[in-house]
């Protein structure tokens, strides 16, 4: 079938061109910028959520950590009290008996069973009809050696021991008078006390490790000092949404005035540096170091002057009538800082896997600001810190990050650190918005032992 009708129409429209309205490109550009900002905002939202999740996790871990710390502290206090009581009783034991006292001093809890055995044997001996009062007295003295040990463990036992002690004095008197019957009664009572003790007391010696030994061992294993290299990358926000009027140096090195341009409110932040950490408490560390920080953001400008292109405006009062508006073009601004952070960290988990929360401040010294034309049509322009620069030479920023780490061997530890840096003052001298970065960092530690 012939398609003359269709061919005719195709020919009629072939190569047709119609000029679109003047405002069409502006609409397209605004939509593209909004879309780009939307993407960047999504990325920032991701980092913000990651940081929020980290903080939430840190808080949860803190609660658990504090609870466990309190529990272990209570247990340690109880153990310390027991040991203290033992030490208080040790001189009595020593004065009362020779060999037994020294055993009791070294490991008092262990002696309980020995004492009980001895008492039982003493009991058996005393049950034997013998006139050997010296031997009986020796058994009684053996029993009396055990008395302080029993006293230190339970009140009931202690009460029993006291009465037994009192009776011991009687026994001594009895011994002197030669009445064996009374001695036998006392020995029976002592045996009962010992049995009670044996039944009531679990093998405590195995459950309670020596805290001093543990403490010494922990001190040896502790990561008291470390050095590290750090890397971080993330988003850099100017603290505003949408485009804004922005003041910055001119692209040209000449002293000609410039006009306002727009700046995208987000960019990219990267840093690399070294750091040193020192433990200053059981769970506290202080971290400092040196970092090289770059913050890159993109600008759109549509201003030009007699063929020369300007990137940013100074103020509206400085605008020249010679400035003309042309096609919008992109410019990248790269800020370079030397950053000196100082942070305090609290270690919530201090094991092979570690988790800590760091917070502190950073002094960021501006090195230079470089303006780059992504199309490569213009050469780069750099300006250092100083009076001519629209940027502050020194900026203070607050730092908050969490650090999830893993120890490799005895000497190394790697960490992942999501965090936020918030500038306390605008980085622009005449700016009003506070910049911030949300980044994800990595740290490789070398532990100095």
């Amino acid at each position: 079938m012939e398609r003359r009708f269709e061919d005719e129409w195709r020919r009629a429209f072939d190569g047709a061109e119609v000029e679109p309205g003047a405002g069409t490109w502006q609409g397209i550009e605004a939509a593209v910028v909004a879309a780009e900002n939307g993407v960047m905002r999504h990325r920032i939202v991701f980092y913000q959520r990651l940081a929020a999740a980290s903080v939430l996790f840190a808080i949860s871990m803190s609660v658990v950590g504090i609870y466990q710390w309190n529990s272990s502290k209570k247990l340690a206090d109880q153990n310390e009290m027991v040991l203290h009581n033992i030490q208080q009783q040790s001189p009595v034991t020593k004065s009362a008996g020779g060999t037994e006292a020294s055993v009791s001093e070294n490991n008092p809890l262990k002696t309980t069973s020995k004492v009980v055995e001895q008492r039982e044997s003493g009991n058996r001996n005393t049950m034997q009809p013998t006139d050997n009062q010296g031997q009986a007295s020796k058994h009684f003295l053996g029993s009396s050696d055990a008395l302080p040990v029993m006293r230190q463990n339970t009140t009931e036992v202690a009460a029993g021991t006291n009465s037994a002690e009192g009776q011991l004095a009687e026994i001594t008197g009895t011994h002197q008078t030669g009445t064996v019957l009374n001695n036998q009664t006392v020995v029976e009572q002592q045996a009962e006390v010992a049995e009670t003790k044996t039944e009531q007391e679990p093998p405590v010696t195995e459950q309670v490790p020596d805290p001093a030994v543990e403490k010494a061992q922990k001190a040896v294993n502790r990561e008291n000092l470390w050095a590290a290299v750090n890397f971080a990358a993330g988003n850099y926000g100017t603290g505003t949404s949408g485009t804004m009027s922005y003041a910055a140096p001119m692209y040209s090195a000449s002293s000609m005035p410039a006009t306002a341009s727009s700046r995208q409110p987000v960019g990219v932040s990267r840093s690399v540096g070294i750091s040193v950490g020192k433990r200053i408490g059981a769970r506290w560390v202080v971290v400092s170091g040196l970092s090289y920080l770059t913050q890159t953001s993109s600008f759109t400008s549509n201003t030009s002057n007699q063929g020369q292109v300007y990137l940013y405006g100074l103020t509206s009062s400085n605008q020249s009538s010679a400035v003309t508006y042309g096609s919008p073009y992109s410019i990248n601004s790269v800020l370079e800082f030397l950053s000196v952070p100082l942070q305090a960290g609290y270690m919530i988990i201090d094991q092979k896997v570690g988790f800590q929360v760091n917070s502190g401040v950073s002094a960021d010294f501006l090195l230079k600001n470089t303006l780059e034309d992504p199309s490569g049509q213009k050469s780069n322009y750099s300006q250092g810190a100083g009076e001519d620069s629209p940027y502050r030479s020194v900026n203070w920023a607050g730092l908050v990050n969490t650090e999830l780490s893993y120890r490799i061997g005895r000497q190394y530890r790697i960490s992942v650190m999501p965090g936020i840096r918030y500038f306390f003052s605008p980085i622009l001298k005449n700016g009003s918005s506070h910049s911030y970065t949300a980044d994800l960092g990595f740290r490789f530690r070398y532990i100095l032992r």
Binding site: A16, V18, V32, E36
Partner: protein
């Protein structure tokens, strides 16, 4: 293809590379190069110049968003034309749902009749096409100008082939009437409209 922009000769490859990197100057250069041609296409699919500009705007946003994925298998302008048509179809999607679903499998296609469009100015042809009902206009453009088959149109618009054919026949009938009217008017005033 090379384009002149601000005194520089920029090839399509450079434009694609620059646009893919988000370079605003490259995007503007691409727009300057192809906007007029794309606007002519958008006008055919729209009811008014304002609607055509909306389509053009939407189309260029999609072009910039998808340029990093452009593999160069077709010419850049062909690829952009498809995007513009899709943008127009998306904008008219709601209207297409309202298209009468006349499924006439045996709808007779009239033999092509000779038609002389040379006597009409481009703007008059556009005006005539824009006066067609939405469904007819879109199917006429797809079939007669872009060269799609009814099967492809049916698949694209999620309608039956019969509907596409009947809508096209209706478009042709309407166009003949409108062209006759316009021709008569020309004869009456003795000049090209």
């Amino acid at each position: 293809m090379s384009n002149s922009h601000n005194g520089y000769m920029i090839s399509d490859e450079e434009l694609i590379k620059g646009c893919s990197a988000g370079n605003r100057a490259s995007q503007k250069a691409l727009y300057d190069q192809y906007a007029r041609k794309m606007m002519a296409i958008c006008l055919r699919y729209s009811r008014s110049p304002a609607e055509a500009e909306d389509v053009l705007q939407e189309g260029f946003i999609k072009v910039f968003a998808n340029l990093p994925r452009f593999r160069g298998e077709s010419r850049l302008d062909t690829w952009m034309t498809r995007i513009m048509i899709n943008a127009a179809l998306n904008l008219n999607r709601q209207k297409l749902y309202l298209m009468p679903m006349v499924d006439i499998q045996d709808a007779p296609l009239h033999d092509s009749e000779e038609v002389n469009l040379a006597q009409f100015h481009f703007s008059e042809l556009i005006r005539i096409i824009q006066s067609l009902p939405d469904g007819c206009r879109i199917i006429f453009n797809l079939f007669a100008v872009e060269g799609y088959s009814h099967k492809e149109i049916a698949s694209l618009l999620q309608i039956s082939e019969g509907t596409s054919k009947s809508q096209y026949n209706r478009a042709k009938s309407l166009l003949r009437i409108k062209l006759n009217d316009a021709g008569n008017e020309q004869e009456r005033y003795g000049k090209k409209i």
